[in-house]
Symmetry: C2
């Protein structure tokens, strides 16, 4: 079994991005919108900004109040869409429940959409259009597979979870690489049968240790997008029951240190791509 | 085995649309852009206009020359996007090869996109956004399943073909109904194994009689999106080898008279929905 080391690859990519940023004639800024008091989101947004700074990308965090309205978020997005020194922007999810997330994502200028979550970019991705900005987590996973020379062509891939932020753009990218992809979810009836036929199994449900050895084919590639903090031990855990399956798999992403670091890195990759395209 | 009669359902829906159109305070117009000399496309576009007229929907066919440029098509779309009496518009596919289809579809105002093929609408559909205009063929198939009370919840659905015009929006709509969906294509390695596990099998590849009894589970629902004219007999044929499989299936769409008539009907359903939304 080999570890797909997202931390290592991430550092390699960041070093490369740093060069590109310092060669850029224009300043590159990523603005981040955060709404409300969710502590993990606040920490995550700060980590994104710190990582950006390390490679020379600037930008502000716009922290709106918990009781902000959809219209207030939309109006800020419109401002940043127009603002010349905002190279790219993103909205941290999840938003407070009373805010219309789809409306917010739809309002982001697709040309400045660092996280690749606007419906326009998702649609372009499914049309295999190379102008599309792919969702950061999905592209991060593809880069990780590439780095370890894992070929997707003709492979049976099963994705557990159907979020438009991760699973669906990933589905588009894998299909573009000629994989045969199945999306499973809470209403799937024979999940173990389906997942244990997968050459590449990806789980993005956020249920610690949900996937045990009964779900897995020997020699499979396992990608763990789950990320949850165990309330008792305080440990960060993925969807896969790592110890149970590590000897069955050929490749596996650890949690932490697998998909997680790739997500921030790819957000910055997208930001730099946007900057270079608009130069 | 029961036939899923698209012709019959189509007539029922058209009668209903006719009432809605005559009750509408505003004139409803569907403009159609056709580029080039492809005879089947020309006939198809005329059929769309005739059907529209029968239920009181007006509109023009804009027939551009075979050697038109992408820019010429884009400029016409921009005009129609703005034109007040163009309720909705569509571009007949396939376009001549030197025209950039994605650019053309991206230029259509998503609010006037009768065929639901703009990337914005495809993205919204994947986000389960009820403001999305679904691609006409995909919605037509869903309406046919609904009419015969075929429940998709928890069903294993296999779609053969990965076009962004039919298969991908269909995938989004089926997943929204809680089906577990797999997309197969030319690079899929074990197509017979995968398709013969499907409760609902949909083929959209346009290869006459490609799908025989080896691909099918007894009791499956079979949806044939294929449409090809046999060069020897002149007969219209679908992807399924109908005579071989009709006794195995529980439900099947005939070709012609299944999915085909539903596509035009749903194009007009979308046009009327757009008109009523903008009223």
């Amino acid at each position: 079994m080999q570890i797909l080391d997202g931390k290592k690859l991430s550092q390699k990519i960041l070093a490369d991005l740093k060069k590109k940023v310092s060669n850029s004639q224009k300043e590159i800024n990523l603005d981040i919108i955060l709404v409300g008091d969710d502590q993990p989101s606040l920490k995550y947004v700060q980590l994104k900004q710190e990582t950006a700074k390390k490679i020379g990308i600037g930008g502000e965090i716009f922290h709106l109040k918990q009781n902000s309205t959809t219209e207030e978020v939309l109006s800020l997005i419109k401002k940043l869409n127009k603002k010349e020194d905002t190279t790219a922007l993103m909205v941290q999810l999840p938003l407070p429940k009373k805010i219309n997330t789809n409306k917010v994502l739809s309002a982001i200028d697709p040309q400045k959409d660092a996280d690749g979550l606007s419906p326009f970019n998702l649609g372009l991705l499914f049309q295999k259009e190379n102008q599309a900005i792919p969702a950061a987590t999905a592209l991060g996973i593809m880069n990780l597979l590439d780095e370890y020379k894992i070929n997707c062509h003709g492979k049976n891939v099963v994705i557990i979870g159907r979020s438009p932020e991760v699973s669906l753009p990933l589905f588009a990218l894998l299909m573009a690489k000629d994989a045969t992809v199945t999306i499973c979810h809470t209403q799937t009836k024979n999940l173990k049968d389906i997942s244990s036929r997968a050459d590449i199994l990806i789980s993005a449900i956020g249920q610690p240790n949900f996937i045990n050895k009964d779900f897995i084919k020997e020699g499979a590639v396992l990608i763990d997008v789950g990320f949850a903090t165990d309330s008792q031990t305080g440990q960060v855990t993925g969807d896969f029951s790592f110890d149970q399956i590590k000897d069955l798999a050929n490749y596996i992403t650890p949690v932490p240190g697998g998909v997680g670091p790739m997500t921030i890195t790819t957000l910055l990759t997208n930001t730099v791509s946007i900057a270079l395209k608009n130069n």
